[in-house]
Symmetry: C2
Subunit: 505 residues, 2 copies
Amino acid sequence: MAANLVTTNHLPLLSTSTTKTILQPRSRLHATTETPIQQRRRPSFMINIPNIISNLLHMGTAGNPFQENHFIQDSYNRTTPAASPKENISSLQDELHGKSNWSNLLNPVLHPWLRRELIKYGDFAQATYDGFDYNPLSEYHGSALYNKNRLFEKLGLTSSGYNITKYIYAMSNIELPRWIEHSLHANTWSKDSNWMGFVAVSDDTESRRIGCRDIVVAWRGTVATTEWFENAHLKLESIKDVDEEDQGDAKVEHGFLSIYKSKSVTTRYNKSSASEQVITEIQRLVAHYRSKGEQVRLTVTGHSLGGALALLNAHEAASTIADLPVSVITFAGPRVGNDAFGDQLRNLNVKVLRVVVKQDVVPKLPGVLLNERLEKLEGIIGELQWVYEHVGMELRLDVKSSPYLKHHGFDLAGFHGLETYLHLVDGYVSEEDEYRRNARRDVALVNKYGGMLLEELRVPESWYQLENKGMVRNAYGRWVMPDREPEDIPSPFRDCRPLAIHESL
Amino acid sequence: MAANLVTTNHLPLLSTSTTKTILQPRSRLHATTETPIQQRRRPSFMINIPNIISNLLHMGTAGNPFQENHFIQDSYNRTTPAASPKENISSLQDELHGKSNWSNLLNPVLHPWLRRELIKYGDFAQATYDGFDYNPLSEYHGSALYNKNRLFEKLGLTSSGYNITKYIYAMSNIELPRWIEHSLHANTWSKDSNWMGFVAVSDDTESRRIGCRDIVVAWRGTVATTEWFENAHLKLESIKDVDEEDQGDAKVEHGFLSIYKSKSVTTRYNKSSASEQVITEIQRLVAHYRSKGEQVRLTVTGHSLGGALALLNAHEAASTIADLPVSVITFAGPRVGNDAFGDQLRNLNVKVLRVVVKQDVVPKLPGVLLNERLEKLEGIIGELQWVYEHVGMELRLDVKSSPYLKHHGFDLAGFHGLETYLHLVDGYVSEEDEYRRNARRDVALVNKYGGMLLEELRVPESWYQLENKGMVRNAYGRWVMPDREPEDIPSPFRDCRPLAIHESL
């Protein structure tokens, strides 16, 4: 089943029907001629081992891939709008947020409204990557590139219908492999914390369209992919400090919990934990809009590690704030906790939709090894409360379903990339159907950070880059790094100070 | 000696005084605080082996390099003009072009006029790299990015005082490792030829300043560095077809000669060879300006392989065009021919100034192995006419002389890069003196294609890149590669058609 409600899965996940190989029929490809497009690249002309290897590989391929009149799928166009018109979807509000576990929107075919909403939330998760300062030479390395009032504008998300109300910062009290990004700069904005996402809220127009005031939390993942999960000290930890009463045996992965809950008075951005920052802000927004008589709900989203944090966040929000409908949309999320944690999420009525690419290894972590071992230990499954389990509904995607993607090779990063996920969601109809011909999301986005697109499409690999890495030529003819705009310099006061409920938005 | 006239050097070059280790005293470095500058970079956030290795290396360094209040040389400023004012240098015209083999301009200290002229010609050689289309997905891969009338403008060389009159294209009739760049595109502009450089001529103002009408030919090197020379089938070939009479035993490296002389009627851009294209254009320009009673000279320049082609070009021009003063400025040029070739250049009164970085291995090629063997065979040196030799004057630079550059490690590409050369020329005074405090050339340029600059300077590595690799978002919200401007599309008619002498400039 592509859309499969996983309940308490004590069974080895790899041997269940959810993981059976889905061999999608490849879409028919049409041989078309296309006007060649011009592309430019200036690689290092110096010795560059990866380049040399890549050149050698090119030399080794039989013939020239573009010499033949290759198929370019005729639906790969450049002259239709990249987004669908917005429709009023308020009539399906509850269903779209998982009231019936999305079963009637995922089957028999993916409902177009749900598809667009998934991409909407995925775009928010993607914004936490696109808006992150990756430059270790920057004093703001690890922060958001722009302030919360113009992040969406800078990333081309102005038409999202949401406004960011708060940035979230996180740190960790335990050593985690390649989690936090440390600036090499002496006067860094923060030695301990990283920008970890944001809280946003739907504006009036969008709220009318979707039928409620939607508070969104988007959590960033990490630069690392599998190595994080492979190297993390996998250890389940009781979640009970989240809410002292009635947490039973719920346990979650130690490392995720540390990022979510750590704080230190010696830091600038984590005098309060990510958990405290986000819950305070959600409470503030809920109170604000409820006082105006509005219907409010919470949607938490994230990719990879961000998906794990989304689950912790949703659990806490549902435990803390009475009668708040909470749903979670994760992409490539790993397993987070044990079955008791899953039970609690269900008891709290937290609705979880997990979008998973079958070739991606991260959703199989960290439980995969444990589960595989369990295959031989079926008899004692009932006693193993520490088994990591997946919770919620699964939308299962297949790289092979897209005629735009490379189907050969093993591109660990490409399979895991959020843009690959969003591309596959956009083309998904059902497990049986081909990739949608009328999919509109810009295919070129897949290669923003990687090279999953077929070469025939002639989209450069990892093309998402700044001109001259941000260097500009100043009035004296010198190439310099401009200072960051003052308004985009992080501020603990502005970005993560706990706000009183009565403060205005 | 840093400036050393190498005549007929049959001796193993590595054992001569020209190659003895020069240990420059390191410039005093001052601990200064500097306003942190903001830098941005968006690397792939996916798995990226080189990044991971680099991160691991960073993690392995003891402490954080920017935590200490590190020295930044106080002369590294961002607010003085990056170029010196232009002075009238016509009084030294002949000396600047090597009349006395530059001896009085190189010693006891490098004359500032010569320094600026070397950088001027080096900038022309650099333009053949900066203006090259490196993108194998482009149908124009291997051509110049812009047409000859606006290349300088696009590369920020408008104030050079020269105008390009012709583009030069080259092919090769023999297999050369990693020499030619082949487009992967079916409708490529050329399957056989690469843009190989240009002919330019000084304008009236510049001609008055320097005292003559200066025709410049700038030759491009290759993307490869040492591997080219290591893998090339090193074989000396008689140069006699260049000029049938009186070439004696002059022989040059087979591969260089093939690039310079190859042509084929089946090609679009090399129906005439690079040699024919460039000589025809020089003849045209010489005739044109001589008919106006002007004094004309030829200066040929190039880096790496381009330096080798510059020597062949100078040899042919001096053999072909009566009474034309010819000088050559090469950067990182390899050895080109045997001693008889060197004798001929001297007999033709071709003046050669070779700028060489002692850490760079390319100028030691291809003769280095042969010469090392000869060390044990001194007795028979006189009989070995096939030994490659360097010709002309040498200006010897040392990476260790610059306080801006990394002195640890072995950066093969960094040592060889033309921007490293130009940076070292700019700071050079003499073998004994420190790097000039008042050097003005923009230090940031060193890292355009590499990472030779100290991290403290916070200039990103290989920062010279297009925004989004040239992708732009079109009116439909889609990311596309725009077509090349029609005026920048290569044209055999416009770029390399042999022109009649009477044609106007």
